[in-house]
Amino acid sequence: MDVTGLLIVVGKVLFITFVVLNFGAIMTWAERKQAALIQDRIGPNRINIGGFKLLGLIQPIADGIKMIMKEDFIPAGAHKLYHTLAPAIAMFPALVGLAVIPFGPSFDAGGRHIDLQVANLDVGILFVLAVSSLGVYGIALAGWASNNKYSLLGTVRATAQMISYEIPMGLSIIGIVMTYGTLELNKIVDLQGEYFRLGGIGVLPKWGIFYQPLGFILLFTALIAETKRTPFDLPEGESELVAGYNVEYSGMKWGMFFLGEFASIVVVSALIATLYLGGWQVPYVHLTALPVLPRILLGLISFFGKVVVLCFLQLLIRWTLPRFRYDQLMDLGWKRLLPLAIVNVPITAVWLWVLGGFKLG
Protein backbone atom coordinates (compact mmCIF):
# COMPACT_ATOMS: atom_id res chain seq x y z
CA MET A 1 0.00 0.00 0.00
CA ASP A 2 1.29 3.39 -1.04
CA VAL A 3 1.18 5.33 2.25
CA THR A 4 2.34 8.68 0.88
CA GLY A 5 -0.23 8.50 -1.91
CA LEU A 6 -2.95 7.76 0.60
CA LEU A 7 -1.84 10.67 2.78
CA ILE A 8 -1.98 13.00 -0.22
CA VAL A 9 -5.51 11.80 -0.94
CA VAL A 10 -6.55 12.33 2.68
CA GLY A 11 -5.00 15.80 2.57
CA LYS A 12 -6.95 16.74 -0.55
CA VAL A 13 -10.18 15.38 0.92
CA LEU A 14 -9.65 17.34 4.14
CA PHE A 15 -8.96 20.42 2.04
CA ILE A 16 -12.21 20.24 0.06
CA THR A 17 -14.24 19.38 3.16
CA PHE A 18 -12.68 22.34 4.95
CA VAL A 19 -13.34 24.60 1.98
CA VAL A 20 -16.98 23.56 1.61
CA LEU A 21 -17.79 23.88 5.31
CA ASN A 22 -16.02 27.20 5.77
CA PHE A 23 -17.23 28.73 2.56
CA GLY A 24 -20.71 27.62 3.60
CA ALA A 25 -20.36 29.22 7.03
CA ILE A 26 -18.92 32.44 5.61
CA MET A 27 -21.72 32.51 3.07
CA THR A 28 -24.24 32.85 5.90
CA TRP A 29 -22.37 35.95 7.02
CA ALA A 30 -21.91 37.28 3.48
CA GLU A 31 -25.58 36.82 2.75
CA ARG A 32 -26.63 38.82 5.79
CA LYS A 33 -24.08 41.55 5.17
CA GLN A 34 -25.11 41.82 1.55
CA ALA A 35 -28.80 41.89 2.42
CA ALA A 36 -28.02 44.66 4.87
CA LEU A 37 -26.18 46.57 2.18
CA ILE A 38 -29.05 46.20 -0.28
CA GLN A 39 -31.67 47.16 2.29
CA ASP A 40 -29.59 49.98 3.78
CA ARG A 41 -29.07 48.29 7.15
CA ILE A 42 -25.91 47.38 9.04
CA GLY A 43 -26.23 43.64 9.41
CA PRO A 44 -24.51 41.46 12.02
CA ASN A 45 -22.05 43.64 13.95
CA ARG A 46 -22.38 42.82 17.66
CA ILE A 47 -20.44 39.61 18.17
CA ASN A 48 -16.89 40.29 19.23
CA ILE A 49 -13.93 38.54 20.74
CA GLY A 50 -12.15 40.89 23.15
CA GLY A 51 -13.55 43.90 21.36
CA PHE A 52 -12.56 42.78 17.85
CA LYS A 53 -15.61 42.62 15.66
CA LEU A 54 -13.96 41.83 12.30
CA LEU A 55 -16.97 43.21 10.40
CA GLY A 56 -19.17 40.68 12.15
CA LEU A 57 -17.24 37.78 10.69
CA ILE A 58 -17.37 35.97 14.03
CA GLN A 59 -21.13 35.68 13.66
CA PRO A 60 -21.04 32.23 11.96
CA ILE A 61 -19.02 30.83 14.88
CA ALA A 62 -21.50 32.25 17.37
CA ASP A 63 -24.35 30.82 15.29
CA GLY A 64 -22.68 27.42 15.27
CA ILE A 65 -22.26 27.40 19.05
CA LYS A 66 -25.83 28.54 19.49
CA MET A 67 -27.19 25.77 17.29
CA ILE A 68 -25.18 23.13 19.11
CA MET A 69 -26.49 24.29 22.48
CA LYS A 70 -30.13 24.24 21.37
CA GLU A 71 -32.46 21.38 22.14
CA ASP A 72 -32.51 18.62 19.56
CA PHE A 73 -36.27 18.41 19.40
CA ILE A 74 -38.10 15.45 17.90
CA PRO A 75 -41.86 15.95 17.86
CA ALA A 76 -44.29 13.34 19.16
CA GLY A 77 -45.49 11.03 16.42
CA ALA A 78 -42.36 11.61 14.36
CA HIS A 79 -40.30 8.71 13.09
CA LYS A 80 -37.18 9.16 15.22
CA LEU A 81 -34.66 7.42 12.97
CA TYR A 82 -35.78 9.08 9.75
CA HIS A 83 -36.13 12.44 11.44
CA THR A 84 -32.43 12.20 12.33
CA LEU A 85 -31.38 10.66 9.04
CA ALA A 86 -33.02 13.32 6.87
CA PRO A 87 -30.63 16.25 7.50
CA ALA A 88 -27.69 13.87 7.13
CA ILE A 89 -28.84 12.75 3.68
CA ALA A 90 -29.68 16.32 2.68
CA MET A 91 -26.19 17.52 3.57
CA PHE A 92 -24.29 14.60 2.05
CA PRO A 93 -24.34 15.64 -1.67
CA ALA A 94 -22.97 19.08 -0.85
CA LEU A 95 -20.10 17.55 1.11
CA VAL A 96 -19.00 15.10 -1.58
CA GLY A 97 -19.92 17.12 -4.68
CA LEU A 98 -16.49 18.72 -4.96
CA ALA A 99 -14.74 15.34 -5.09
CA VAL A 100 -14.47 15.19 -8.89
CA ILE A 101 -13.87 18.90 -9.51
CA PRO A 102 -10.26 19.92 -10.25
CA PHE A 103 -9.43 22.98 -8.16
CA GLY A 104 -5.90 23.63 -9.37
CA PRO A 105 -3.32 22.66 -11.99
CA SER A 106 -1.40 19.42 -11.56
CA PHE A 107 2.27 19.52 -10.68
CA ASP A 108 5.24 17.26 -9.98
CA ALA A 109 6.73 17.22 -6.52
CA GLY A 110 9.10 14.71 -4.97
CA GLY A 111 9.01 12.49 -8.06
CA ARG A 112 5.26 12.23 -7.87
CA HIS A 113 2.57 13.61 -10.15
CA ILE A 114 -0.10 15.32 -8.09
CA ASP A 115 -3.47 16.38 -9.47
CA LEU A 116 -5.30 19.02 -7.50
CA GLN A 117 -8.48 16.98 -7.82
CA VAL A 118 -9.65 14.40 -5.31
CA ALA A 119 -10.91 11.73 -7.68
CA ASN A 120 -10.55 11.51 -11.44
CA LEU A 121 -13.39 9.21 -12.46
CA ASP A 122 -14.21 7.91 -15.90
CA VAL A 123 -17.78 9.19 -15.48
CA GLY A 124 -16.67 12.58 -14.08
CA ILE A 125 -19.62 14.90 -14.29
CA LEU A 126 -22.11 12.03 -14.01
CA PHE A 127 -20.80 11.46 -10.49
CA VAL A 128 -22.01 14.92 -9.47
CA LEU A 129 -25.39 14.28 -11.07
CA ALA A 130 -25.68 10.86 -9.42
CA VAL A 131 -24.83 12.13 -5.95
CA SER A 132 -27.04 15.18 -6.21
CA SER A 133 -29.99 13.06 -7.35
CA LEU A 134 -29.83 11.29 -3.96
CA GLY A 135 -30.31 14.56 -2.07
CA VAL A 136 -34.04 14.33 -2.79
CA TYR A 137 -34.39 11.59 -0.17
CA GLY A 138 -33.19 13.90 2.60
CA ILE A 139 -35.97 16.36 1.86
CA ALA A 140 -38.56 13.63 1.31
CA LEU A 141 -37.74 11.96 4.63
CA ALA A 142 -37.66 15.26 6.52
CA GLY A 143 -41.24 16.06 5.67
CA TRP A 144 -42.53 12.55 5.92
CA ALA A 145 -40.96 11.80 9.30
CA SER A 146 -41.98 15.09 10.93
CA ASN A 147 -45.66 14.27 11.38
CA ASN A 148 -46.67 17.80 10.39
CA LYS A 149 -48.83 18.60 7.41
CA TYR A 150 -46.91 21.74 6.53
CA SER A 151 -43.70 19.76 6.52
CA LEU A 152 -45.26 17.24 4.19
CA LEU A 153 -46.56 19.96 1.88
CA GLY A 154 -43.15 21.59 1.80
CA THR A 155 -41.57 18.24 1.11
CA VAL A 156 -43.86 17.46 -1.77
CA ARG A 157 -43.22 20.88 -3.27
CA ALA A 158 -39.48 20.61 -2.73
CA THR A 159 -39.12 17.15 -4.24
CA ALA A 160 -41.31 18.01 -7.23
CA GLN A 161 -39.21 21.14 -7.78
CA MET A 162 -35.88 19.37 -7.43
CA ILE A 163 -36.74 16.57 -9.82
CA SER A 164 -38.32 18.99 -12.31
CA TYR A 165 -35.12 21.01 -12.58
CA GLU A 166 -32.88 17.96 -12.70
CA ILE A 167 -33.95 17.37 -16.31
CA PRO A 168 -32.89 20.77 -17.73
CA MET A 169 -29.76 20.49 -15.56
CA GLY A 170 -28.72 17.20 -17.11
CA LEU A 171 -29.71 18.33 -20.60
CA SER A 172 -27.80 21.61 -20.58
CA ILE A 173 -24.59 19.81 -19.58
CA ILE A 174 -24.96 17.71 -22.76
CA GLY A 175 -23.83 20.75 -24.78
CA ILE A 176 -20.58 20.94 -22.82
CA VAL A 177 -19.97 17.21 -23.24
CA MET A 178 -20.55 17.54 -27.00
CA THR A 179 -18.11 20.44 -27.17
CA TYR A 180 -15.26 18.83 -25.27
CA GLY A 181 -16.03 15.18 -26.03
CA THR A 182 -15.38 13.88 -22.53
CA LEU A 183 -17.02 13.54 -19.13
CA GLU A 184 -13.76 13.91 -17.22
CA LEU A 185 -13.65 17.32 -15.64
CA ASN A 186 -9.86 17.65 -15.65
CA LYS A 187 -9.82 17.12 -19.42
CA ILE A 188 -12.61 19.66 -19.84
CA VAL A 189 -10.57 22.20 -17.88
CA ASP A 190 -7.41 21.41 -19.87
CA LEU A 191 -9.27 21.97 -23.14
CA GLN A 192 -10.51 25.33 -21.89
CA GLY A 193 -6.88 26.49 -21.74
CA GLU A 194 -6.80 26.70 -25.54
CA TYR A 195 -7.79 29.73 -27.61
CA PHE A 196 -10.00 30.65 -30.52
CA ARG A 197 -7.50 31.86 -33.09
CA LEU A 198 -7.93 34.82 -35.41
CA GLY A 199 -5.08 35.21 -37.87
CA GLY A 200 -2.87 32.90 -35.81
CA ILE A 201 -3.29 34.86 -32.60
CA GLY A 202 -5.31 33.47 -29.69
CA VAL A 203 -8.01 36.04 -29.04
CA LEU A 204 -10.51 34.32 -26.79
CA PRO A 205 -10.03 31.36 -24.44
CA LYS A 206 -12.11 28.33 -25.41
CA TRP A 207 -14.24 28.60 -22.31
CA GLY A 208 -17.56 26.79 -22.15
CA ILE A 209 -19.47 30.04 -21.83
CA PHE A 210 -18.30 31.15 -25.29
CA TYR A 211 -19.37 27.85 -26.82
CA GLN A 212 -22.53 27.59 -24.75
CA PRO A 213 -24.00 30.94 -23.70
CA LEU A 214 -27.50 29.46 -23.66
CA GLY A 215 -26.36 26.34 -21.83
CA PHE A 216 -24.67 28.50 -19.21
CA ILE A 217 -27.86 30.42 -18.44
CA LEU A 218 -29.94 27.23 -18.42
CA LEU A 219 -27.59 25.35 -16.12
CA PHE A 220 -27.18 28.29 -13.77
CA THR A 221 -30.96 28.71 -13.47
CA ALA A 222 -31.54 24.99 -12.99
CA LEU A 223 -28.83 24.75 -10.36
CA ILE A 224 -30.16 27.73 -8.40
CA ALA A 225 -33.54 26.01 -8.43
CA GLU A 226 -31.85 22.83 -7.17
CA THR A 227 -30.47 24.72 -4.18
CA LYS A 228 -34.06 25.84 -3.37
CA ARG A 229 -33.17 29.47 -2.76
CA THR A 230 -35.16 32.58 -3.62
CA PRO A 231 -36.68 32.99 -6.19
CA PHE A 232 -37.13 29.23 -6.03
CA ASP A 233 -37.70 28.94 -2.27
CA LEU A 234 -41.31 27.81 -2.43
CA PRO A 235 -40.62 24.69 -0.37
CA GLU A 236 -39.70 26.98 2.51
CA GLY A 237 -42.15 29.79 1.80
CA GLU A 238 -42.39 31.13 5.35
CA SER A 239 -45.58 33.00 4.68
CA GLU A 240 -47.40 29.98 3.26
CA LEU A 241 -45.91 26.87 4.81
CA VAL A 242 -44.50 28.13 8.14
CA ALA A 243 -41.07 26.99 6.95
CA GLY A 244 -41.72 23.98 4.78
CA TYR A 245 -40.01 20.66 5.27
CA ASN A 246 -37.85 21.88 8.16
CA VAL A 247 -40.64 23.19 10.43
CA GLU A 248 -40.10 20.51 13.05
CA TYR A 249 -36.32 20.79 13.11
CA SER A 250 -34.28 22.64 15.68
CA GLY A 251 -30.69 23.13 16.74
CA MET A 252 -27.88 21.63 14.72
CA LYS A 253 -30.19 19.38 12.69
CA TRP A 254 -31.88 22.49 11.37
CA GLY A 255 -28.43 23.98 10.93
CA MET A 256 -27.42 20.99 8.82
CA PHE A 257 -30.19 21.72 6.31
CA PHE A 258 -28.99 25.28 6.03
CA LEU A 259 -25.29 24.59 6.06
CA GLY A 260 -26.05 22.02 3.37
CA GLU A 261 -27.90 24.66 1.39
CA PHE A 262 -25.05 27.15 1.61
CA ALA A 263 -22.48 24.46 0.91
CA SER A 264 -24.43 23.45 -2.18
CA ILE A 265 -24.18 27.07 -3.39
CA VAL A 266 -20.42 26.62 -3.23
CA VAL A 267 -20.61 23.31 -5.10
CA VAL A 268 -22.87 24.86 -7.73
CA SER A 269 -20.42 27.74 -8.20
CA ALA A 270 -17.48 25.36 -8.46
CA LEU A 271 -19.30 23.24 -11.03
CA ILE A 272 -20.25 26.26 -13.17
CA ALA A 273 -16.73 27.68 -12.90
CA THR A 274 -15.31 24.34 -14.04
CA LEU A 275 -17.69 23.75 -16.92
CA TYR A 276 -18.12 27.26 -18.29
CA LEU A 277 -15.45 29.57 -16.93
CA GLY A 278 -12.29 27.59 -17.45
CA GLY A 279 -11.89 26.15 -13.95
CA TRP A 280 -8.45 27.02 -12.64
CA GLN A 281 -7.24 28.37 -16.01
CA VAL A 282 -6.17 32.00 -16.14
CA PRO A 283 -6.90 33.55 -19.54
CA TYR A 284 -3.80 34.46 -21.58
CA VAL A 285 -1.47 33.00 -18.97
CA HIS A 286 0.01 29.63 -19.82
CA LEU A 287 -0.13 28.20 -16.32
CA THR A 288 1.46 24.82 -17.06
CA ALA A 289 4.62 26.59 -18.26
CA LEU A 290 5.10 28.41 -14.96
CA PRO A 291 7.23 27.06 -12.10
CA VAL A 292 5.40 24.98 -9.54
CA LEU A 293 4.65 27.48 -6.79
CA PRO A 294 3.25 30.39 -8.85
CA ARG A 295 1.39 27.86 -10.99
CA ILE A 296 -0.45 26.40 -8.01
CA LEU A 297 -1.06 29.77 -6.41
CA LEU A 298 -2.38 31.39 -9.58
CA GLY A 299 -4.53 28.34 -10.34
CA LEU A 300 -6.06 28.26 -6.86
CA ILE A 301 -6.66 32.02 -6.88
CA SER A 302 -8.24 31.83 -10.31
CA PHE A 303 -10.52 28.91 -9.38
CA PHE A 304 -11.63 30.21 -6.00
CA GLY A 305 -11.94 33.75 -7.35
CA LYS A 306 -14.44 32.49 -9.91
CA VAL A 307 -16.23 30.52 -7.20
CA VAL A 308 -16.50 33.61 -4.98
CA VAL A 309 -17.81 35.74 -7.85
CA LEU A 310 -20.44 33.12 -8.70
CA CYS A 311 -21.45 32.77 -5.04
CA PHE A 312 -21.80 36.54 -4.86
CA LEU A 313 -23.93 36.48 -8.01
CA GLN A 314 -26.24 33.91 -6.42
CA LEU A 315 -26.61 36.03 -3.30
CA LEU A 316 -27.40 39.02 -5.47
CA ILE A 317 -30.11 37.04 -7.25
CA ARG A 318 -31.48 35.90 -3.91
CA TRP A 319 -31.93 39.46 -2.65
CA THR A 320 -33.17 40.92 -5.91
CA LEU A 321 -35.91 38.65 -7.19
CA PRO A 322 -39.24 37.91 -5.48
CA ARG A 323 -40.53 34.39 -5.00
CA PHE A 324 -42.27 32.61 -7.88
CA ARG A 325 -45.76 31.22 -7.67
CA TYR A 326 -45.80 27.43 -7.84
CA ASP A 327 -47.38 27.29 -11.29
CA GLN A 328 -44.79 29.79 -12.57
CA LEU A 329 -42.04 27.63 -11.12
CA MET A 330 -43.33 24.51 -12.85
CA ASP A 331 -43.95 26.39 -16.09
CA LEU A 332 -40.41 27.72 -16.05
CA GLY A 333 -38.97 24.26 -15.52
CA TRP A 334 -41.06 22.22 -17.92
CA LYS A 335 -42.20 24.72 -20.54
CA ARG A 336 -39.23 27.07 -20.80
CA LEU A 337 -36.00 25.48 -19.58
CA LEU A 338 -36.70 21.96 -20.86
CA PRO A 339 -37.56 22.94 -24.46
CA LEU A 340 -34.67 25.41 -24.51
CA ALA A 341 -32.30 22.74 -23.20
CA ILE A 342 -33.46 20.36 -25.93
CA VAL A 343 -33.03 23.07 -28.58
CA ASN A 344 -29.56 23.72 -27.19
CA VAL A 345 -28.42 20.30 -28.47
CA PRO A 346 -28.96 20.99 -32.23
CA ILE A 347 -27.74 24.57 -31.73
CA THR A 348 -24.52 23.19 -30.29
CA ALA A 349 -24.17 20.78 -33.20
CA VAL A 350 -24.55 23.59 -35.74
CA TRP A 351 -22.28 25.90 -33.76
CA LEU A 352 -19.52 23.29 -33.55
CA TRP A 353 -19.87 22.67 -37.29
CA VAL A 354 -19.55 26.43 -37.98
CA LEU A 355 -16.52 26.68 -35.72
CA GLY A 356 -14.95 23.80 -37.60
CA GLY A 357 -14.46 21.45 -34.67
CA PHE A 358 -16.82 18.96 -36.22
CA LYS A 359 -17.15 17.41 -39.66
CA LEU A 360 -20.25 15.84 -41.14
CA GLY A 361 -18.40 13.39 -43.36
Partner: protein, 117 residues
Amino acid sequence: MNPYLPVLVTFAAAFAVIGMFLFFCHAFGPKQTSKIKSDPFECGNPPSGPAHDRFAVRFYIVAMLFLLFDIEVVFLYPWAILFRDLGGLGIAEMSFFLVLLVGGLAYVWWRGALEWE
Protein backbone atom coordinates in the same frame (compact mmCIF):
# COMPACT_ATOMS: atom_id res chain seq x y z
CA MET B 1 -4.28 3.61 -7.41
CA ASN B 2 -7.94 2.75 -7.81
CA PRO B 3 -9.83 5.95 -8.73
CA TYR B 4 -12.61 5.07 -6.32
CA LEU B 5 -10.35 5.06 -3.27
CA PRO B 6 -10.38 8.89 -3.03
CA VAL B 7 -14.16 8.78 -3.44
CA LEU B 8 -14.37 6.40 -0.48
CA VAL B 9 -12.15 8.70 1.56
CA THR B 10 -14.42 11.64 0.66
CA PHE B 11 -17.48 9.64 1.71
CA ALA B 12 -15.76 8.76 4.99
CA ALA B 13 -14.96 12.44 5.63
CA ALA B 14 -18.55 13.42 4.85
CA PHE B 15 -19.89 10.73 7.21
CA ALA B 16 -17.49 11.92 9.90
CA VAL B 17 -18.64 15.54 9.57
CA ILE B 18 -22.31 14.56 9.57
CA GLY B 19 -21.83 12.18 12.49
CA MET B 20 -20.05 14.92 14.42
CA PHE B 21 -22.91 17.36 13.88
CA LEU B 22 -25.52 14.79 14.88
CA PHE B 23 -23.53 13.86 17.96
CA PHE B 24 -23.14 17.51 18.97
CA CYS B 25 -26.80 18.31 18.72
CA HIS B 26 -27.64 15.15 20.60
CA ALA B 27 -25.04 15.63 23.32
CA PHE B 28 -25.07 19.32 24.20
CA GLY B 29 -28.67 20.42 23.89
CA PRO B 30 -31.12 20.41 26.81
CA LYS B 31 -34.00 17.95 26.84
CA GLN B 32 -37.33 19.26 28.03
CA THR B 33 -40.43 17.92 26.39
CA SER B 34 -43.99 18.92 27.09
CA LYS B 35 -47.34 18.03 25.62
CA ILE B 36 -47.81 21.35 23.84
CA LYS B 37 -44.27 21.43 22.53
CA SER B 38 -44.66 17.99 20.97
CA ASP B 39 -47.72 19.03 19.01
CA PRO B 40 -47.22 19.67 15.30
CA PHE B 41 -46.29 23.34 14.85
CA GLU B 42 -49.03 25.22 13.04
CA CYS B 43 -48.20 28.80 13.97
CA GLY B 44 -49.57 28.39 17.48
CA ASN B 45 -53.02 27.21 16.46
CA PRO B 46 -54.14 23.83 17.77
CA PRO B 47 -53.20 21.28 15.11
CA SER B 48 -56.09 20.36 12.86
CA GLY B 49 -56.64 17.38 10.61
CA PRO B 50 -54.33 14.45 9.92
CA ALA B 51 -50.64 15.11 9.34
CA HIS B 52 -50.36 12.55 6.57
CA ASP B 53 -53.00 13.44 4.07
CA ARG B 54 -52.98 12.25 0.51
CA PHE B 55 -51.83 14.91 -1.88
CA ALA B 56 -52.67 15.88 -5.44
CA VAL B 57 -51.79 13.38 -8.11
CA ARG B 58 -50.27 16.15 -10.22
CA PHE B 59 -47.12 15.82 -8.14
CA TYR B 60 -47.04 12.16 -9.05
CA ILE B 61 -47.35 12.99 -12.74
CA VAL B 62 -44.37 15.30 -12.39
CA ALA B 63 -42.33 12.51 -10.80
CA MET B 64 -43.33 10.13 -13.57
CA LEU B 65 -42.39 12.56 -16.33
CA PHE B 66 -39.12 13.18 -14.52
CA LEU B 67 -38.30 9.47 -14.54
CA LEU B 68 -38.92 9.07 -18.26
CA PHE B 69 -37.10 12.25 -19.26
CA ASP B 70 -34.23 11.41 -16.95
CA ILE B 71 -33.66 8.20 -18.88
CA GLU B 72 -33.72 10.14 -22.14
CA VAL B 73 -31.11 12.54 -20.78
CA VAL B 74 -28.90 9.62 -19.77
CA PHE B 75 -29.24 8.28 -23.34
CA LEU B 76 -27.73 11.51 -24.64
CA TYR B 77 -24.53 11.35 -22.59
CA PRO B 78 -22.70 8.55 -24.45
CA TRP B 79 -23.79 10.14 -27.71
CA ALA B 80 -22.48 13.56 -26.67
CA ILE B 81 -19.05 12.06 -25.93
CA LEU B 82 -18.94 10.46 -29.36
CA PHE B 83 -20.50 13.43 -31.14
CA ARG B 84 -17.33 14.56 -32.91
CA ASP B 85 -16.37 11.04 -33.99
CA LEU B 86 -19.77 9.95 -35.27
CA GLY B 87 -20.16 12.82 -37.73
CA GLY B 88 -23.28 12.99 -39.91
CA LEU B 89 -24.37 9.49 -38.95
CA GLY B 90 -24.48 10.49 -35.30
CA ILE B 91 -26.59 13.51 -36.19
CA ALA B 92 -29.03 11.27 -38.05
CA GLU B 93 -29.18 8.78 -35.18
CA MET B 94 -29.82 11.42 -32.60
CA SER B 95 -32.26 13.41 -34.75
CA PHE B 96 -34.62 10.44 -34.70
CA PHE B 97 -34.28 10.15 -30.95
CA LEU B 98 -34.69 13.88 -30.36
CA VAL B 99 -37.77 13.97 -32.57
CA LEU B 100 -39.23 11.21 -30.40
CA LEU B 101 -38.30 13.15 -27.27
CA VAL B 102 -39.85 16.37 -28.54
CA GLY B 103 -42.89 14.43 -29.75
CA GLY B 104 -43.34 12.95 -26.28
CA LEU B 105 -42.97 16.35 -24.67
CA ALA B 106 -45.42 17.89 -27.14
CA TYR B 107 -47.97 15.15 -26.41
CA VAL B 108 -47.63 15.62 -22.65
CA TRP B 109 -47.98 19.36 -23.10
CA TRP B 110 -50.99 18.98 -25.37
CA ARG B 111 -52.74 16.66 -22.91
CA GLY B 112 -52.33 19.31 -20.26
CA ALA B 113 -50.16 17.25 -17.92
CA LEU B 114 -47.83 20.23 -17.57
CA GLU B 115 -50.63 22.64 -16.64
CA TRP B 116 -50.44 23.55 -13.01
CA GLU B 117 -53.24 25.90 -12.14
